[in-house]
Symmetry: D2
Subunit: 134 residues, 4 copies
Amino acid sequence: MSSVTQMIQTHPGRKEELERQLTETLEAASACAQVCRICADACLGEQSVDHLRTCIRTDLDCADICAATAAVLSRQAGSSPTLVQAVLEACRTACSACAAECEQHAEMHEHCRICAEACRRCEQACTDLLAALT
Amino acid sequence: MSSVTQMIQTHPGRKEELERQLTETLEAASACAQVCRICADACLGEQSVDHLRTCIRTDLDCADICAATAAVLSRQAGSSPTLVQAVLEACRTACSACAAECEQHAEMHEHCRICAEACRRCEQACTDLLAALT
Amino acid sequence: MSSVTQMIQTHPGRKEELERQLTETLEAASACAQVCRICADACLGEQSVDHLRTCIRTDLDCADICAATAAVLSRQAGSSPTLVQAVLEACRTACSACAAECEQHAEMHEHCRICAEACRRCEQACTDLLAALT
Amino acid sequence: MSSVTQMIQTHPGRKEELERQLTETLEAASACAQVCRICADACLGEQSVDHLRTCIRTDLDCADICAATAAVLSRQAGSSPTLVQAVLEACRTACSACAAECEQHAEMHEHCRICAEACRRCEQACTDLLAALT
């Protein structure tokens, strides 16, 4: 079965660029997972927790999916391209949903503003890596 | 924002069926994550570890994605349908890849045979739930 | 370096008993992680979410520690006894804290009652396994 | 029930120092989890995988425990001090075991050398935070 590494090797001259993108996406996903978990807890500490239920759930969903994505990308030498693409799609979707939710509270809560930015960075990294892999 | 719960509520008469499917998929994904982790470790303990590298990586990828899927499905009342669908797609892909890999070693290694079965059950549960959600 | 397996092998006649306990604890920790995540989300859905913040956090802490414990126990053939003991201690502590918190809401919320029971089962399994390993 | 925050608040003048240590440990644990996962996969890719089985398992144990520790520390405002201490003890033990293992292969494998350093940094951060919390 083919692998990301093999795929990379079939793109002469683009290898270093793809490795850079893999590493950037891994770091963006890992950072986003961490930031989303802190945002969930910060939301839980707000007086207005009642209005932040969806935000907390979306934060936790995004954290779990980003953490799994980072773990899969850590094994970049061995995963099947189909699997990598599917997890990148899920990560992009989760980050987009979480960013959209957090942006609604960004003016009120600084942690939501920072979280939305981390989500948008990870969403972009996943989008770029998907484009490079296909 | 819409939610799986709201989606379920718009399907009169099908609510209990969907809840049953959500629960079944959650349990299949949770069991599959556990079984894949044990299979990875069992492969690592085999004399023929050299030939089981891809199997170990695929096990670990599948474990991480199934665990994230189970976590998302635990928040079934609040996740966006788009996100649930994307994570179910990733889970189905990971389970299919891991089953295909483990099936190659199923006659040699009992743990791979059991793992392939757990992956196929989870793959089917994800496929059925995706069909029910769309 | 020594391992749980080697430790088990130095206890003649007790091997099967220890393996049974390892498996029971692995299953209790895996189930507890899942139940705690669902309890956190159920608490987040309650009208009285304001009073359930500590419960949600304790649920999430317990879920994360139980999941890590289950993962370590999946590699039962290879982990160092010191590491297994330390993670079992952390798991026992997390389960005890989460049970104590959920028991305060058990009469009001059925999910907290069920979660407290899962935590107490996992706490007991960790305690028994720790006693068997030392 | 008491909390890390409350504990911090009872140490007048030391608050900022403790918050800095919490943050440092959170970052060290998150980085260590990531590095250990990559080391496990790099070991799995080595010709000498046969001799690296213990290293792979210890890497994976350390990754799982560090990730759980980072998640608990993300909820620094709400966890019970007993639970935080127990998870820090487990994390310190896992990092110490993984560093000791990786150090044996540090001259042969650059990834083991880097991983051992990340483990030692996290071990030290946990030790310092434990000292500050008690």
